[in-house]
Assembly symmetry: C2
Homo-oligomer: 194 residues x 2
DNA sequence: ATAAAAGACAAACGTTTGTTTGTTCCAGTC
DNA sequence: GACTGGAACAAACAAACGTTTGTCTTTTAT
């Protein structure tokens, strides 16, 4: 582990390493990705990773944390620009899905990797994800909805539907923005025919 | 592989083996489960599994197929008993979620394991899951909804939300039946306050 | 210039992985 | 009761796994 008694060197490949770990953890999952898979693309040797992280589990924890940071920033920036409660929620969903499907390997990890897959850091991961989802708790708390509506279920349904897109989404057809808007609209507007 | 030139023996432990594989694949995922994990609970030796299956991938394929069969039967039986389109959809969702969360390790595998995790049999798994989801295509095709509603999005949203419950559901609180009904209601009834 | 720390290499460690091979045993059939 | 094939055991395989250890190089601060 780096002691950081001095500033990190300019030529260090930790960022590249994290990028590649994010890419592989996000597409192949934690157990489906080996240390050797990760270092190969960065032209490192397997052992070299242990200068930066004590275990593979902690490497994941670092990627996961970065993922939560990025998607949080992205989503917050998106809904901060709006005022209407439904607009804010929609903007958040669009940002969430764009991060998830189009642009951000780190964000993918947060959705793909289940904390239970990595017991040694599971509580940490759960706490981080809960922190992120609190953004949506607040957004949904502000919605003007009928009193009979359970807001927790609303959140779980919406986020579940969004996160599950990772399973079936293929680039080229409908883009993430369109999908997110459709989902919000399905919840907002009356569906059943009179 | 068994040649089946004679009937299988009454004392063979293949059923037990499959049950345990379903349980572990469903809770720990494919890559998170080793052959030794599986045989341990059945008091077998690792090599013995290869009398029944040529590879670990094909073992998964067998469990997956059984999972699709079971959840299909369960869901079909549930909505066959109803006539109203919305009732039928709700019954299907309840059965889907009960199979997923409460009773059926095989069904869990179908939702938990991503075909991409097992390249050698991925096309087969995808085809099977598509076959199952066609049940919902038909159910949703019968719904009386506004003409502006995209039924494909409706299906993807509903199934996504249901499947994602596997991530957050913990026994003891709301039961699967309640959750499924709430989700359907959120889609069916107008939410937004006038 | 020099010392110290950053960061990676080189090579191996012990373990776990999926799988193979040869043998044994017992239930079912004639 | 002998034969046979279903179903498992016993033991090992090679490869891949996460990780450790010791050494070397290169950047950075003095």
């Amino acid at each position: 582990m780096p002691q950081l008694q001095r500033a990190p060197r300019a030529d260090n490949r930790l960022p590249l390493l994290l990028d590649e770990a994010a890419r592989l953890f996000g597409t192949q999952g934690f157990h489906g990705t080996s240390i050797r898979d990760i270092v190969r693309a960065v032209n490192m040797l397997p052992g070299s990773i242990y200068y930066h992280f004590a275990t593979k589990d902690l490497l994941l924890a670092a990627v996961y944390a970065e993922g939560v940071r990025r998607i949080s920033d992205r989503v917050r920036a998106a809904f901060d620009a709006r005022t209407d409660p439904w607009d804010r929620l929609e903007a958040a969903c669009v940002a969430h899905l764009e991060a998830l499907l189009a642009e951000n390997n780190y964000a993918r990890v947060v959705i793909r990797v289940q904390p239970a897959d990595v017991p040694s850091v599971a509580p940490d991961l759960v706490a981080q994800r809960d922190g992120y989802e609190r953004l949506f708790v607040d957004l949904i708390a502000c919605l003007p909805v009928e009193r009979s509506v359970d807001r927790r279920s609303l959140r779980l349904m919406l986020l579940g539907a969004l996160n599950w897109t990772q399973t079936w989404y293929r680039p080229g057809r409908d883009d993430p923005r369109t999908i997110a808007r459709r989902f919000v609209k399905l919840l907002r507007a009356p569906i059943a025919k009179e």
